[in-house]
Amino acid sequence: MNPDKFLSDLSQIYPAERFLTQPAQLTPYESDALTAYRVRPLAVVLPVTQNEVIETVRLCGRYQIPFVARGSGTSLSGGSLPVEGGIVIALNRLDRILRIDPENRIAVVEAGVVNLDVSAAAQPYGLYYAPDPSSQPICTIGGNLAFNSGGAHCLKFGMTSNHVLGIKAVLPDGEVVQLGDESLEGIGPDLVGLFVGSEGLFGIALEVILRLMPKPEIFKTVLASYSSLEGAGNAVSQVVASGLLPGAMEMMDELAIQAAEAAVQANYPPGATALLIVEIDGEKNQVEEEFEQLMGVIESSGAQEIRVAQDDADRARIWKGRKSAFSAVGRLSPDYIVQDGVVPRSRLGETLAEIERLSKQYNVRVANVFHAGDGNLHPLILYDGREAGSLERAEEIAGDIIHICIQSEGSITGEHGVGMEKRAYLPQMFNEVEMNTMRQLYNVIDPQKISNRGKMFLDIDSIFLNNGGAIYDQ
């Protein structure tokens, strides 16, 4: 392993302006949206073709240099954090939309294409790409795929993995594979489903076949405020019990509401302790009838104030507040940790009460923004990194919240992935046999452990030793 020789070979693949080694050039790539972690990579390369990516991966394999593929760096779990002594392959310029095929309702795109750009390209055909993580104006399909991103519509429409039909990928050892194909239904085993959410450990997706859906004809959105989180939580249960299938059900607590209001003037009802947003989408006649039914439920749910979006601009305003909540909370505090554990929906009320209790116990402010439809929590734990012990306290409360999710048979992560951040908790959700199964898969796909090494598994070194080698042992 000779980094200088490696870098010199690497520089043969890229022109100087797409081969970054100067400290000032590397700084933007040292971290992603999980800013508590920071690692300076050896170099950053900016491929514009799939072949450049393949050549780079093969070169890394020859020199056993770890690499991290990165899109826009919006990972909240530290999924695109560089590896010490490794390189970053930044894919934003591998961003061609190769084909929109309305006949088969698919889009074929390269990994660096921005999520929202897929929908923009499909729009002339009345189609769109359904998964909508809050970062969708900037996050890339490759990153969405690696971490199985979600969004606000997962109960009805599923996660990224439900919208990826085919993947052309370069595996960590340089083999190029095609998983799945253009058809909506393949023949198993569902290898595409395995690859999605593998957090970059299985290599790099180069080209992705996405399923497009017809754009719902209309959306009807209602916003209701409540004097307690419990009240809003009960309303969610009543909506579900009424037999409706809303496209989205979102909740925010007082702190999150205040932050969103201050940041984007969403015009939320003043003084609300909890907000509930419910949206029904689909064919006009059906939506109108369902919305009437929904209003019946909301009106008898003890809401303080109910606002129905009157037009698209109104609806956009309601959503803007919700979607900007994370960054808005950033205005309240210099630093924060976002958790994204999942509990069964019926446990939401008690879980929120417990988070509130923990917040008081630790004297740490927690803002809650979450997907109530699918039980996906997003407690934003506020801390000040300059204050001694502050991060540790925040991490402690985050751990307590994750334990609640595990105990209630939920999940430690609904959509952000394990990344760096939740590696210690994965073995608490899955037992040793299950962890071993995942390690075995990891071993056969990346025996050298060079692809996004250190993510998902905390015990990377022991995995490696189990695999019978000692390449990194120096």
Binding site: E103, M159, E175, S183, I187, L191, G193
Partner: protein, 360 residues
């Protein structure tokens, strides 16, 4: 050959540990996929059965793999819910585990997605006889590698599925279908596309060759109150066709779901399709000994053949297609050239290094 019929999950584990070669199956409704091979221990999983957890307000349930879907459907419908991927061969006795292992969805999968979109979690017995959980029990989960997805269409080659968790949705109150006839395939495909990019919330879109051309069936589901206006709107999109309701309507979809259109003794092959592949294939196969149905707006091809499935493999290969024999019998079940073979073999090595689970 040894046939075993475990009565508990721990018995499944014990049988797996003692047998060097294993093949597991459910009720045997996918006849071609229920093979018996010399020297292989067969596990009949139908006693590993029963609904374990079902909380309607969670939109999820967990059941043992041998549970018959007809029993699940009954429990769900009592709460106004259903399995939106519309599992096939239900009336024939299909089990949850068999349906997942075969990776099959019915015509209704058009609306919200297939079996891969509704399976949330799985427990299976691995080749060491250990119980492994993959995925989860909640509707949203991104933790770890998604082992549940791997079981879909695995045909039992990666483990013996013992328990499954699914997402369910509120069921439509009733259905209505527009039946259309077209002289040419191009017109029929055009009609499929028109429906599939429209704003209408369509439940299923089916196409099949008829005596005089091609038939298209478009089904919508929803509330009784809005149905007349909605089916009228669908009709006006084409300004032709016949609207079917009630039992006339239901029988069309039942036939498709149950594969009752496949003549006795014939074999049935599933092929992943696109519109382009349909055009190519239809140009090739105008033979009386081959019946075709195209499901899910032309995304799934069902080919019923009188002779042995291998005999039509050259046609499949020529078109660059690949397929799986579902009903009947065949020397080889996988026809044509599969993508992802090398990736699959890595997965197989990881999960079943001793090759205990028989490949079919």
């Amino acid at each position: 050959m040894i046939n075993r019929k475990p009565a508990s999950v721990s018995e499944v584990q014990a049988f797996v540990k003692e047998a060097p070669r294993i093949f597991s199956h459910g009720a045997g409704t996918k006849t071609a996929l229920t093979v018996s091979v010399d020297g292989v221990t067969t596990l009949d999983m139908t006693l590993i059965s029963g609904l374990q957890e079902y909380e309607p307000e969670e939109f999820t349930f967990t059941a043992l793999a041998g549970t018959r879907i007809v029993d699940v459907n009954q429990a769900l419908s009592q709460n106004g819910q259903y399995l939106p991927f519309d599992p096939p061969l239900v009336e024939h006795g299909a089990t949850l585990g068999g349906t997942v292992a075969a990776g099959l969805s019915g015509p209704g999968r058009y609306r919200y997605g297939g079996v891969r979109d509704f399976l949330l979690g799985v427990s299976y017995v691995n080749s060491s006889g250990e119980l492994v959980r993959g995925g989860g029990k909640v509707v949203k989960n991104a933790a770890g590698f998604d082992l549940a997805k791997l079981m879909i269409g695995s045909l039992g080659t990666l483990g013996v599925i013992v328990e499954l968790t699914f997402k369910v949705f509120p069921a439509p109150e009733l259905f209505s279908t527009l039946q259309l006839d077209f002289d040419t395939l191009v017109d029929a495909l055009q009609a499929l596309q028109q429906a599939s990019v429209s704003h209408l919330d369509i439940d299923a879109i089916e196409m099949a060759p008829t005596e005089s051309g091609f038939g298209v069936w478009i089904r919508i589901g929803g509330s009784a109150k809005t149905m007349p206006a909605r089916i009228d709107r669908l009709y006006k999109m084409y300004n032709q066709g016949e609207i079917l309701n009630g039992s006339d309507e239901e029988i069309i979809w039942q036939q498709l779901r149950e594969f009752n259109w496949v003549p006795g003794g014939w074999s049935l092959i599933k092929l992943p399709m696109t519109h382009g592949r349909i055009l190519a294939l239809e140009g090739e196969v105008k033979r009386e000994s081959m019946l075709r149905r195209y499901s899910c707006a032309g995304q799934i091809g069902w080919l019923a053949v009188k002779e042995s499935p291998e005999s039509i493999e050259p046609v499949i290969v020529k078109q660059g297609l690949y397929g799986l024999v579902i009903l009947g019998s065949s020397e080889r079940l996988r026809l044509g050239e599969y993508p992802s073979v090398s990736f699959y073999s890595r997965v197989k090595t990881a999960l079943d290094p001793i090759n205990r689970f028989v490949e079919v």
